[in-house]
Symmetry: C2
Subunit: 330 residues, 2 copies
Amino acid sequence: MTITIKDIAHKAGISTASVSRILTNRGRFSEDTAQRVRELANELGYFKNQSAADLSQKASRVIGVLVPITHTNFADEIIKGMQHKAYELGYELLIAFVETNSQQQTETVKSLLSRQLLAVVMLALDIEDAVFDILKSANVTLLSVSNQLNNDIPSISSDNYAMMHTIVDYLYDHGHRQIALIGSSDADPIVAILRRQGYIDALASHDITYNPDFIWGVEMTYQTGIEAIKKFGLPLPFTAVIGSADIISIGLLNGARDAGISVPNDLSIVTVDGTELTQLTRPVLTAAQQNFTKMGELAISNLANNSLSSHSVIFTDITFIPGGTVTTIA
Amino acid sequence: MTITIKDIAHKAGISTASVSRILTNRGRFSEDTAQRVRELANELGYFKNQSAADLSQKASRVIGVLVPITHTNFADEIIKGMQHKAYELGYELLIAFVETNSQQQTETVKSLLSRQLLAVVMLALDIEDAVFDILKSANVTLLSVSNQLNNDIPSISSDNYAMMHTIVDYLYDHGHRQIALIGSSDADPIVAILRRQGYIDALASHDITYNPDFIWGVEMTYQTGIEAIKKFGLPLPFTAVIGSADIISIGLLNGARDAGISVPNDLSIVTVDGTELTQLTRPVLTAAQQNFTKMGELAISNLANNSLSSHSVIFTDITFIPGGTVTTIA
DNA sequence: AATAATTGCGTAAACGTTTACTCAAAATAT
DNA sequence: ATATTTTGAGTAAACGTTTACGCAATTATT
């Protein structure tokens, strides 16, 4: 009992082709009939059957988005940016949350791909090989946002290497010489490698040889921050620490507090990300803020005008937020 | 150049009907041919065209989910629960983030509806009339999760009325008589009404006449918490306060801190929601924790077996987390 | 007024899958 | 050995939309 263009065509005494042309605003038709058809559509409560449309036109305006279900508090901001631009340009977003569980991940991706997609955007996702193979075999445009991947996949992210220079320089200017980096010790995600290298090179540019012990922690979790403080013990061997994600930095802050370390008097903290979370602590976190919304917008607009070559790397700007967790030392 | 079942049928020397039966595991076929077909499908890199399938079978296994884009930190948990159950039962989730902007909201909902959906689930969403009309005219099953709506729409949520009793009783048992409620003052969302009434009735059951001034704040934001403390000024006219969302409670906590009020010594706080956010503060927040994951699971399983009558109200359990923001007073 | 260009709309095929009917062959029952 | 049931698979229509093509009617050009 659903209303189709056939019903509209019948009532209007014209062909389905005309109705289709009018409703999609393509091809030729008179404004008179158009008026009538649009009214009828409204009156009858017509809803386009997008499946039929997708089937008919081989191309689609649907962009699939893979979001890690592990709580990343910035995914929302990226999605917001994408949604905004997608709406503006007439695209549709099909968002799928994926577990870390590989089995379910492949299922989800397969079902995503069974809609014909314009592209698949991966948010802050370190993709598993199995999943990557599926995506590749489906021959769909891929784009990684807020993360850089090795596999020739175009990406939109912050310049993680340069960002660490900004942070280290800032701390150096405030007198800090012993600086730790928490949450980017692992070899795997490219972002970690870039940040680590940026950190090391920035220190070197100030004639400081980095201390390998000062790079610690793999997971981007609250617990990593908490444990980092415990691990180094009192007195802390450094005067400043960089948390590689807001949630880590909050862990560092609370860990310090629990250990009787005063921030920023006894320990300075700079966080990477700069989401709203940084406003919830006391003192408010000093942050290198990533422009997540912008990333989302760029993702859609670049996909829209098809301007991504397989190796494109697009950087968005970083804003340094002074906050209250860095102090100047002698 | 996409692979269809026609290609597979041709290579296997059988009809598309057989291929379809095998791939969907419906109807009759021999295990021999099935084997061959499945291998071919793999080999050729076949992906089902879900649009064609949807068009052919009028029913679908897609459930639309409307999520408010304003950062609610518990939406993730509900989605996680839904995703989990949906995967288990073979359903697909189509998630759409909606802005508060009504114009875009209707667009988004319309495009959601143009896929044939089994149902639309609204997360913590106070739906606009215009949008509700569209949904109603589309004649699709509706379900509200974590929120109760007036319009005959089935819902899955906590028992917000009873929850306030639990909280008030707890505070009363710890000696508190002057208790404020922040963030549920407005008339609009049913949840606010229920919480307010629960709060008033719970106080009454202890022979306390509630003070209308103690119910304050509409928006579920950090700023509401911050401003609440400012509004009441020092000394605070109450010894305990209930924050109607974690983010409000963190505002209350920081607002108190900024005003030199010690929590819990000078002010006790109980928060509603109990997401991970409560772990990030010092002290850790005392919370009436809602079971969001369960809500999500119930949403899907109830839709799956079609057991929702238009007035069903399903409650999930509440867990009281003692935390560290309530103290006993004389 | 004759010719050319444009406009509005209909016809019919196509998109890829599913499924109600058939029907012959194979298996089982009598 | 015949009758009955079961099995495997093919035929063809259907789902709702889009679009290439064609043609008559209208409008513009000379």
